[in-house]
Chain length 249, copies 2
């Protein structure tokens, strides 16, 4: 497989950076081609704004979708966006590595979605979900948290992890990706904060890296999270009223 | 009340900007003091990165929480962050107005959370949730979507709106806010895209503004969404095993 690793962390030497190194080495050892996309390292600009658009459709009113579609159609997308789309086109599997900040991905990665998934190119009203641009490709999230695992289980005060990752999973599914179950490395405190002693903490981090490497050795065999698609919906985009996914079990 | 309106949209003339004007006028007519915080207008930088920190604790390894706490302690926070915290301190109610982009807030608003909610100042291990910095204050989200309402109800293909807003609600609750139910204005297509005819669309937008103005006339009487707090959790931060919030109803 061609595997793209997208890293979003301001410190390359961080534990997130360490998980990237684990992934590079594990995936290469299995014979996959791997490319690293270090968003902080490349200084990715996450802010969608009018100044990015030269010769806009409407210079007096900035409507992002209109301008995105126009730039895509005339092959005028900014170089950083062209580069990102090229990388995504190349990859069979794309892995996003990032810390959970304020119950979501860091702003830089949020803005990567805002800018890279271009309206009129990567998606449209008819080209999305299981008819999406990236259909046949796979994507997954690899996330670190500061708090320990219990806080992110159902009824945990950190918020149920399934709910916290739902928005980004929904976005990946929207553009056609098959989404693998996330890899969540819990209890990774930055900046010398640690709940346990130093030695126990280092051991914990070692185990997290081992878990990650071990999973990646057979990542190509995993099945994706099931999502509904066009055949499951009525004309309003709602699951058919007797669809089995509505059953309460 | 003192009400802070935080707007995150790249076009001030957009419908989001229009909802801000509605809020300004409705709240002022009720005698409240209102201040507008236009993040795009002020060019807010949403990227947390090492270069923001002069004289860092560790110049060779950027740990955001360590550096945030150090800057807060020596009163060295960047001017934009000082300004934002001052505004939040002033406000009894803070309203966030933004479009739903990729199932979440735009990157600029995500980065506002990443940078403004400073570790060691706005929160710490003991100062959070119902012991949070902003306890006694209220916050709410006012969100616009492109797709119509049905797509965001349970079993809708857009994703259940309750789940999509859960991360940001969790963050506001984390720093102590009482969170009011969100105002969601559905079916606001940007850039001349419209599911219905032009006239019906304009009428729809008018109704959305009326709903918003009408709600704001008695916003001070609303009760907040219930969240669990310190007394509800065991030592791992999980709801007590017999807590009534666990009941399936």
């Amino acid at each position: 497989m061609n595997v793209l690793l997208i890293l979003c962390h301001p410190e390359r030497q961080s534990f997130n950076g360490g998980l990237i190194d684990v992934a590079l080495s594990a995936l290469q050892s299995r014979g996959h081609s791997v490319e690293l996309d270090d968003l902080y390292g490349e200084g990715f600009d996450p802010v969608e704004h009018a100044e990015l658009y030269v010769d806009p459709v409407n210079p007096d009113y900035f409507a992002p979708l209109t301008e995105q579609r126009a730039l895509y159609d005339r092959k005028g997308l900014p170089p950083d966006i062209v580069r990102e789309i090229k990388r995504l086109d190349w990859a069979d599997l794309t892995i996003f590595q990032f810390p959970l900040w304020w119950h979501a991905q860091p702003a830089m990665l949020k803005g990567w979605l805002d800018r890279v998934f271009v309206y009129g190119g990567i998606y449209s009203g008819t080209q999305r979900y299981d008819r999406g641009y990236f259909r046949g490709k796979r994507a997954m999230l690899s996330v670190t948290t500061g708090s320990p695992q219990a806080a992110f289980m159902p009824f945990g005060r950190g918020g149920d992890m399934t709910r916290l990752l739902a928005p980004m999973h929904a976005s990946l599914n929207y553009v056609g990706y098959s989404v693998l179950a996330p890899q969540v490395s819990y209890g990774v405190q930055g900046g010398g904060i640690s709940y346990q002693g130093r030695e126990a903490f280092e051991r914990h981090l070692g185990c997290l890296k081992d878990d990650w490497a071990s999973r990646l050795m057979s990542i190509e065999d995993e099945s994706a999270i099931p999502f509904a698609g066009w055949n499951d919906w009525d004309d309003s985009g709602v699951l058919h009223h007797n669809h089995p996914a509505r059953w309460q079990i």
